[in-house]
């Protein structure tokens, strides 16, 4: 018989059943009668005037129906679209391209292969324009202005600062020891194994648009479509967005890409369903990037090792349009979490955004809007300071951590951390890895000239976007929602405003409801992603599903419990206040045999409900969190370096995470494993660079290096549990912690191996040749 496990159990995933049979429903699996295919012509130039687009040869191919250009879209007011950052972005250009691989025209055809032939046959004439790929050069007064469409004739997008500038300057001047370093966090790409795509179906009879698309935020997309295309008669009740199974998101499936818009336009134009699926190169080269932050970081400390001041100055490269998928009210997202796990007296952060001839975006890559940038910077700097002070990096951290009794802790940059026990996590990690013995081994190896390093990262995250005082998307508050309907036989359907991309919501949400109502997980169907059926929500990213939607699920379940109590009182002929709840049933205080199970109560809700009470047993909750949650952890990495080749080999990696109360330990562990691998990736492998002409380097999986099973170490994980005081379940969210925490642990380990040689910093990704170069510079060779 099915049992209700609830929180804290490693319930096996319900969604696996279809995935392991090859029966998932991903976007490219959808095939509709009469469906047309879209393929996109892209720019070989990073900056150029389009002087002609000649479609004749493409249109001569049998099966090619149309070649759509920016001028065509402009007739309908669709050549541009708004971004979430109060900027606008070209859907298709009218006369100028601003980055390589930018969409230039779209070919509509009866078949996928014919559409590709059509795209190859479209001829475009360009007149190359000067290219700017370096944001520092872009901000110089003599740089060519890239965005001629804007009133402000500059490549400077915005300036943002937080903290006390003067106090921080004073504190740095007065510090006994200061350290300063330039840290570049390069462009990377989420590269989920499934690329992006959609099928748009316009029903001209009903005037209804159905849009199946790989989106992490279907409801927000529906509203965006209504706002952007309202003038064409698309009203929100006539738009249905369906997010099918998603093959990984990590932030890359939050934005609206031009392909989606063109597909919708093409479907409305032809009255037929239109499919657009990116190939991998289009995905990496044109979809939203992550990171690209140039940080100058300074820390000040007392001689005894006490940190006093932090100052970060950053240039953020946003590419051609500021299309960051950042729903906070702050242009640099949550970057001001950069004081991390440490108790600073003063801190000051400023960020300037710049336009360059690179693809637009600025998404998360499995983190909450710039939290990885912040965490990497503070954890790298903490190590540099510790080494500068000749202190052990662990001892240094333990000395400077915010004390457990200081929570809720108000940071100098304005956040209120909900809860934490940083000492506990670091000590556990040190114990697991055998820190003291490793330091001894390292000292011995050094005498033999061998290079071994130990790196620590004790990060603090900020997730669960978010409280409406700090977050919105086009004015929409960042609540999330759950609707639970308990059927007469005691089975339930629960719908959420979020959308899983592999996180296992069908299982974990069912556990939350099982925990609250005692209905077995197997008896609860969880649905997400269909805007016609699910309550309005803002989607899944920024580790917000547990902090926000699972909270909504708990609140909705509790509403149901409140009603169930009334029904139980009626059935048991007792007063409500005499009833006690034990998971799955109400019983009369002192007479446990006088009980009604939730299933009996559900049946009564439809067959025998008390007078004056509505029939049915269902509830909806919209949860606007009072605060963000602050998961944390301590990671320790051990590396060995090949002096001859510069290769870095990760020998061990221990991760201790604290995400508050845990819904499903198996899934939490899986999330941490995946996150660690996506932290390893930018630390050692992944990067997208551009040459001076704006050519993309690293624009396919041949050069954009996702780690394989051979590069990925055997992760060792553990948890401490410090519940969130404000979350209904005490949970915090964990999907991104490891991505945030891991890069600094790895970088710190590599530098730790070479600090004694005079090496202070190497920018990630730490490739063999970069290591070889600094070893050479410091006289080490094989």
């Amino acid at each position: 018989m099915a049992v209700a496990h609830g929180m804290g159990h490693s319930v096996k995933r319900k969604e696996d059943a279809r995935f392991i049979r090859g029966k998932g429903n991903y976007i490219d699996d959808l095939k509709l009668p009469g469906m047309l295919y879209l393929d996109i012509v892209r720019s070989p130039y990073a900056h150029a005037k389009i002087t002609a687009i000649r479609a004749e040869k493409a249109l001569a191919i049998p099966g090619v129906l149309a070649v759509i250009t920016g001028r065509d879209l402009d007739k309908y007011g669709l050549a541009w679209m708004p971004t979430l950052m109060s900027d606008r972005q070209m859907v298709l250009p009218i006369d100028t391209v601003l980055y390589q691989a930018q969409e230039v025209a779209a070919v509509l055809a009866t078949q996928r292969y014919i559409a590709a032939d059509g795209a190859a046959a479209v001829e475009v004439d360009y007149e190359p324009l000067p290219v700017v790929v370096d944001p520092k050069k872009a901000l110089r007064p003599d740089a060519p202005v890239l965005r001629e469409d804007r009133e402000q004739k500059t490549n400077h997008i915005w300036h943002w600062e937080v903290g006390d500038r003067d106090a921080t300057a004073r504190a740095l001047e007065q510090a006994d020891v200061t350290v300063e370093e330039d840290l570049y966090i390069p462009r990377i790409h989420v590269a989920s194994i499934e690329t992006c795509g959609c099928v748009a179906q316009w029903d001209s009879v009903d005037g209804k648009l159905t849009l199946w698309m790989t989106t992490q935020a279907p409801h927000a997309i529906r509203t965006v479509v209504a706002l952007v295309a309202g003038h064409l008669g698309l009203a929100e009740h006539k738009i249905r967005v369906v997010s099918p199974d998603i093959g990984g998101g990590f932030g890359g499936k939050v934005p609206v890409y031009p392909g989606y818009v063109v597909a919708v336009a093409a479907s409305v134009l032809t009255g037929k369903p239109v499919k657009w699926i990116e190939d991998r190169m289009e995905n990496i080269q044109a979809d939203s990037f992550a990171r690209d932050y140039h940080i100058t970081a300074e820390l000040g400390a007392k001689r005894d090792g006490t940190l006093t001041a932090l100052r970060f100055k950053t240039i953020a490269d946003h590419g051609a349009f500021d299309a960051a998928a950042n729903p906070s009210k702050f242009p640099a997202g949550l970057f001001s979490i950069c004081t991390g796990s440490y108790d600073f007296q003063s801190a000051f952060v400023e960020v300037d955004g710049a336009y360059t001839n690179k693809p637009p975006g600025g998404i998360a890559y499995r983190c909450s809007f710039r939290v990885t940038e912040a965490s990497y910077a503070i954890e790298r700097m903490a190590d540099i300071m510790a080494h500068e002070l000749k202190m052990d990096p662990a001892e240094f951290r333990l000395k400077n951590f915010i004390r457990p009794e200081a929570f809720p802790y108000k940071s100098p940059l304005g956040w209120t951390y909900d809860s934490g026990n940083y000492q506990g996590a670091l000590k556990k990690a040190m114990e697991m890895i055998g820190y003291t013995a490793l330091r001894r081994e390292q000292a011995e190896k050094r005498t033999r000239g061998e290079l071994m390093g130990i790196g620590i990262s004790s990060f603090t995250e900020i997730v669960g976007a978010g409280p409406s005082h700090s977050f919105d998307i086009l004015g929409l508050k960042m609540f999330d929602s759950a609707e639970i309907r308990v059927h007469p036989t005691g089975k339930a359907v629960a719908r959420f405003g979020t959308k899983s991309q592999g996180q296992g919501h069908e299982t974990t949400y069912a556990q939350v409801i099982a925990h609250e109502l005692g209905i077995p997980e197997d008896d609860i169907a969880v649905e997400e992603g269909d805007t016609d059926t699910a309550p309005y929500g803002l989607g899944t990213y920024a580790s917000r599903s547990t902090p926000v939607a699972a909270a909504a699920g708990a609140v909705a379940a509790r509403k149901i419990r409140d009603k169930a109590r009334k029904i139980a009182a009626h059935l048991l002929e007792a007063s409500e206040s005499d009833l006690e709840w034990e998971r799955g049933k109400f019983f009369v205080k002192g007479s446990p045999q006088r009980a009604k199970t939730i299933q009996e109560i559900a049946f009564a809700a439809y067959t025998n409900h008390p007078q004056g009470l509505e029939a049915g047993l269902e509830a909806v909750a919209y949860y606007d969190p009072p605060n963000l949650t602050f998961p944390f952890g301590s990671y320790i990495c051990v590396v060995d370096i090949d002096k001859g080749t510069g290769e870095v080999k990760i020998r061990r990696f221990v991760a201790v995470d604290d995400c508050g109360n845990i819904i499903n330990p198996m899934i939490v562990e899986g999330q941490v494993h995946g996150g660690l691998t996506m932290g390893l990736a930018p630390a050692l492998y992944e990067e997208i660079t551009y040459d001076d002409d704006g050519n993309i380097r690293g624009g396919s999986f041949m050069d954009y290096l996702l780690p394989t099973s051979m590069e990925t170490p055997r992760w060792e994980t553990a948890n401490t549990v410090t519940p969130s005081p404000h979350h209904p379940l005490g949970a915090k969210g964990v999907g991104e912690s490891a991505t945030v925490g891991a890069p600094a642990a790895i970088a710190n380990a590599v530098i730790d191996a070479m600090w004694h040689l005079g090496v202070r910093h190497i920018d990630i990704p730490i490739t063999p040749w970069k290591v070889w170069k600094v070893l050479r510079q410091n006289g080490v060779t094989e």
Binding site: D117, G644, T645, Y685, L705, M710, W769
Partner: protein, 291 residues
């Protein structure tokens, strides 16, 4: 990514295949495993009008020793070489190389002949087989001819094969007692082309001197390279540390790498030095009966 259109032929015999190549000349391409050509076609960088698939021709898949040579049929897949007992027991250089080509799935489909004929400077077989002193057999309208591998690679993607010739066999001098070899590849991750790779094949004399030695370099020039001067440093000498170091330095000067994402040219040149020294030490150890 969708390739352009082409006409497909699947001949059952070698003469049939050669006739097709004669008929279509430069417009035809041979399809062996397809793992070099098909990606280029999907990118539409290559658009051959005719594809001649060799996979249905019998008798081009084998690994056998005869008349002083190890003979490998051109359609033998990388994975078959990787798991072959003959190779594992007698040809460590080839066993090493087979293990590091691309990834296991590619090795199940890609063929040694296809890889050589593609002549990618990053192809592992080029460097390994140069080191092994191999030759290839090309079959054309006038029958077969033997081409020493030293004369085979003409340039990037360009070989001494005529448009109507098919590479059908690779021959490698049979392994002897006291012969050894090694192939070391430095790569950014599994599946990537080499930053640099070095193959070494050698035969030690009864006195322990290098009687025969071959050194092949991968992805450090426009083609697979043979480090002839480095071989000269070793020939007739005992491979002691100093000689190995000198040979490794010489090999580095013989390489001709270009800067790319894998690193700048000076790094790659130094990697040739480091890998050559390591491969030589490993090969010497093996020749002396070590692991």
């Amino acid at each position: 990514m969708i390739p352009g259109s082409f006409e497909y032929f699947s001949p059952q015999t070698l003469p049939e295949a050669v006739t097709l190549l004669q008929r279509y000349g430069e417009d035809a391409k041979v399809l062996a495993g397809g793992h070099s050509l098909i990606p280029l076609m999907k990118l539409r960088l290559a658009a051959p009008r005719y594809l001649v698939d060799l996979s249905r021709i019998d008798g081009l898949t084998y690994i056998r020793e005869s008349e002083g040579f190890l003979r490998v049929g051109a359609l033998t897949r990388h994975g078959d070489i990787e798991t072959s007992d003959v190779i594992r027991s007698g040809y460590p250089l080839l066993a090493d190389a087979a293990r590091v080509i691309a990834d296991p799935l590619v090795r199940n489909m890609g063929t040694v002949g296809g890889s050589l004929a593609h002549a990618d400077p990053a192809g592992d077989w080029g460097a390994a087989l140069l080191a092994a002193g191999a030759h290839v057999v090309a079959t054309g309208p006038r029958g077969g001819r033997t081409i020493p591998l030293d004369e085979f690679f003409v340039g990037t993607f360009t070989t001494a094969l005529q448009p109507d010739e098919i590479l059908t066999e690779i021959g490698i001098p049979q392994s002897q007692k006291n012969s050894g070899g090694a192939y070391l590849k430095l790569e950014r991750k599994v599946g990537d082309f080499a930053i640099a790779a070095v193959g070494v094949g050698l035969l030690l004399s009864s006195t322990g001197a290098c009687e025969q030695v071959g050194i092949g370099l991968c992805n450090v020039g426009p083609t697979s390279l043979r480090a002839g001067q480095a071989e000269q440093v070793l020939r007739g000498k005992k491979p002691d540390d100093a000689t190995i170091a000198r040979a490794a330095e010489t090999a580095a000067t013989e390489s001709d790498p270009a800067d790319d994402l894998r690193g700048p040219a000076d790094y790659k040149r130094d990697m040739v030095r480091v890998l050559t020294a390591r491969a030589l030490r490993l090969a010497v150890g093996r020749a002396k009966g070590g692991a």
